[in-house]
């Protein structure tokens, strides 16, 4: 679809350059790239993500000039950036909130790709590269969160490295290499810092491949119908999409600025303002919000299956939730790209999206706490009976239980505790987690066979004309 280059070098210098390093031609072709004219605002998140990556790299480089990767000094060095470095507070708030903004944008970008079937033939490689970027983003964000060396940094990294240790055979050695020793400490912090600096450049490299792969088949579009006629169906990327993406980026920056200037700590956790203390574990350890759905899937698995223990199974499910994205192009068997024309798939996708967000809520909450209570709390008398069997008597009436308790001999070790019943977050995460996998592994493969798609427009130009109700296509402006 990119077609032959339309660039004509005009001046002596550009002609000279074009014969040696045709980089001007490269840029001109990139800007002139034919892009479907019916892209909606969901397509602007590619540009937004490029802006996010640039912002993270620039602010990160400045932060690295002041940060000290040492367990004794890291926490204070971050605070020093916030207090004593000129505009350090600004740069650090942008970087810390930028991670959240980056993930917000990437999730919308991914849901858009899933809804409009942007992963399908011939765009499988674009999608896979995207999933690689997403995976690297998660690794980078996780390591970045460890650097301020707060309580959540330390204990969060302990949870994640322990997970890797649960993998049979290779888990323990990988865990040791990751931590740089038998426990989390200075070697861990130093290698996390090193990798946290390295990975964004790896991401940038894969972004280049992602865009390169995009420029072979060209953009998908909301109808999913391929470009038939470049003249009628497309407009040049510049100025049409530079200005549209530019507008979306500015709107996104307003949301970004709102967090940076007015709610800089809203997406963080108060525990991370307490310096890391290996001897004191926070009451509940939670990752950053963007990793919560996977954390919920990890904790949803509380049962062994055959010889596989629950812990390993949870790790498998968590990584499986990401791995399944890599094979999504082949799991979805439908020939129709856009879910606009797939009524059943569209409903199931909406449920999938809600389930994914719901899993995030599950991840934020204690799995043993209740989403809602079944009724008012009761009290239970627990004691050991004369046959040395544990007993539990539940009642609403505390005074009655109290009387029972005093009637029991001291050897019974009777105690009264609260008994509450409700719908556990654990159960919700199991239901939603099951749906997550059902959607990919059962619904999408089956729907391609059984679903009857709605009629699709003959071309992009046709779909646009229908929308506006005009009989003849208006001429493109160029």
């Amino acid at each position: 679809m990119s077609g032959p280059s339309t660039y004509e070098p005009k001046s002596g210098f550009t002609k000279w350059m074009d014969e040696r390093l045709p980089i001007i031609r490269f840029g001109a072709d990139l800007m002139d790239f034919p892009t479907p004219k019916n892209l909606n605002y969901w397509w602007t998140f590619g540009g937004i993500l490029a802006a996010c990556l640039a912002i993270q790299i620039v602010t990160g480089i400045v932060l690295a000039m002041h940060y000290v990767a040492n367990t004794q000094m890291a926490f204070a060095s971050v605070e020093r950036i916030m207090r004593d470095i000129d505009f350090g507070w600004l740069i650090r708030n942008i970087h810390a909130n930028g991670a959240s903004m980056f993930f917000l944008a990437v999730y919308i970008h991914m849901f858009r790709g899933m809804y409009y079937g942007s992963y399908k033939n011939p765009r499988e490689v674009i999608w896979i590269l995207g999933v690689v970027i997403y995976f690297l983003m998660m690794a980078t964000a996780f390591m970045g969160y460890v650097l301020p060396w707060g309580q959540m940094s330390f204990h969060g990294s302990a949870v994640i490295t322990n997970l890797i240790g649960a993998i049979p055979l290779i888990g323990e050695p990988i865990k040791t290499y990751l931590m740089g020793g038998p426990a989390i400490g200075d070697p861990t912090l130093n290698r996390f810092f090193s990798l946290h600096y390295l990975l964004p450049f790896v991401i940038a490299g894969i972004v280049v491949l992602h865009i390169w792969a995009l420029h072979v088949p060209g953009n998908n579009n909301p109808t999913g119908v391929s470009v038939k006629d470049v003249k009628k169906d497309t407009v040049p990327f510049h100025p049409y999409y530079t200005v549209k993406d530019g507008f979306a980026i500015v709107i996104f920056l307003i949301l970004f600025a709102l967090f940076v200037f007015y709610f800089p700590n809203a997406l963080g956790h108060a525990d991370n303002s307490v310096e890391a203390n290996p001897l004191q574990t926070p009451a509940h350890i939670v990752p950053e919000w963007y990793l919560l759905p996977f954390y919920a899937i990890l904790r949803a698995v509380t049962f062994d299956i055959g010889p596989i223990p629950a812990k390993l199974l949870g790790v498998i499910a968590m990584f499986g939730a990401i791995v399944v994205l890599f094979i999504l192009p082949w799991l979805d068997t439908s020939k129709v790209r856009s879910m606009r024309y797939r009524p059943v798939a569209r409903s199931l996708f909406v449920v999938f999206a809600f389930a994914s967000v719901g899993l995030g809520f599950c991840g934020a909450n204690d799995p043993d706490k209740f989403v809602f209570n079944f009724g008012p709390d009761k009290v239970a008398l627990v004691y050991t009976d004369t046959n040395r069997q544990p007993q539990r008597e539940v009642s609403d009436d505390y005074a009655a239980l109290r009387a029972r308790q005093s009637a029991l001999p001291p050897t019974a070790g009777a105690a009264i505790e609260v008994q509450s019943e409700g719908f556990k977050w654990l159960w919700l995460s199991q239901i939603l987690g099951a749906y997550y996998f059902l959607y990919f592994l059962v619904f999408l493969p089956l729907l391609g066979v059984i679903e009857k798609p709605k009629p699709r427009p003959a071309s992009i130009a046709d779909s646009v004309r229908k929308k506006h109700g005009s009989a003849t296509p208006a001429a493109a402006a160029h």
Binding site: N38, L39, R80, M82, R83, W89, L90, N93, L104, I108, F111, R112, Y115, Q151, V235, P239, V243, K244, G246, F247, V250, I254, A257, L258, V260, F261, Y262, N265, A266, L267, H269, A270, S273, V274, L279, Q280, T281, P282, A283, V286, W289, M339, R340, R346, V350, V357, F361, G363, A364, N365, D366, D377, V379, I416, E417, V418, R465, P473, A474, A477
Partner: protein
């Protein structure tokens, strides 16, 4: 197609709420604990002064007199156990700080700051250049506001095993911020009948923890809060405020909570002020870019 748009818009809204709601859940439903983590209010609504917290408002600022009063409470009461090692004395005289004066752009020249540093009770450990012996030197404006103990171990020995936390970022490190500090200082209620308080411990209705093990009544009605080693620091304190503000416990608690909120994030006011310029600029820019977009696309059906 309309449905798809609605669904996707709903999805975006959900994505945004996915950010917001866990945050709110973490802010309010905070679990309890010891000093090692951000203790919550023990499932208890936090207290606030009748006029609220001005500095937490969208364009809220700090009252310099209040910051000075809060600092006085800190020096006369808190600093006998707690330090603020992330702050230097000079920070007190920086823009937005309690002792800032426009005619001293360099806070190290500020006589008020110099005076505070010079007479600070917790002197700075140093080495005597003549004898090589460890000595304590009077603080300079560039020195950190250290606590009185030479080490954490020394602090624990004196405080019945408990470690008085450094207060530099305490408002940021506790759910509720200034409101938590204020509630804690006001929350030394008489323990309800049926609650056993161990020797060396003090009941506080707002301290993170669990009273279940010390409660002999209906476990569904256990008192909120927990126990801590610090006795009510302001109960016997009598800080005379230089600006004539009457001294009482709620006033001292409010002032010191506000000072600690400032100390946790001394650039908060500068941050909000810059936001008030950046966001309108971005809104204006978005209008201009939107008009360009409309102009460029005017002849394209899309």
């Amino acid at each position: 197609m309309r449905f798809a748009k609605l669904a996707l818009a709903g999805l975006a809204a959900l994505a945004v709420s996915a950010v917001a709601v866990p945050v709110l859940a973490q802010e309010h439903g905070a679990p309890a604990g010891e000093t090692g983590h951000a203790a919550g209010a023990g499932g208890h609504e936090l207290m606030a002064p009748a006029h609220g917290w001005h500095h937490e408002e969208f364009f809220g600022t700090f009252d310099q007199n209040q910051l000075q009063r809060g600092f006085k409470v800190f020096t006369e009461v808190c600093s006998s156990c707690h330090g603020m090692k992330l702050l230097s004395f000079r920070n007190l005289g920086e823009q937005g700080g309690p002792f800032y004066e426009a005619r001293y752009p360099n806070p190290n020249d500020n006589p008020a700051v110099k005076e505070i540093a010079a007479k600070y009770v917790n002197q700075i450990p140093s080495i005597d250049p003549d004898s090589g012996d460890p000595v304590k030197m009077p603080a300079k404006t560039s020195d950190r506001i250290l606590g009185p103990y030479a080490s954490d171990i020394a602090a624990r020995v004196v405080n019945g095993g408990a470690l008085p936390p450094d207060l530099s970022v305490i408002a940021k490190a506790r759910h509720g911020g200034a409101a938590y500090v204020y509630s804690l200082l006001n929350g030394y209620h008489t323990p309800p009948a049926g609650l056993t308080v161990a020797a060396g411990q003090h009941y506080n209705a707002y301290f993170g923890g669990d009273t279940a093990a010390s409660w002999s009544g209906d476990p569904r009605h256990k008192p909120p809060g927990g126990f801590l080693a610090m006795a009510s620091p302001l109960a016997t304190a009598n800080v005379t405020f230089d600006d004539g503000t009457p001294t009482n416990l709620p006033q001292m608690a409010e002032d010191v909570a506000t000072f600690l909120a400032w100390a946790s994030d001394p650039k908060a006011v500068a941050r909000k002020q810059m936001g008030a310029a950046v966001i309108p600029f971005l809104i204006l820019l978005s209008i201009l870019v939107f008009l360009s977009y409309k102009a460029i696309w005017r002849n394209v059906e899309h």
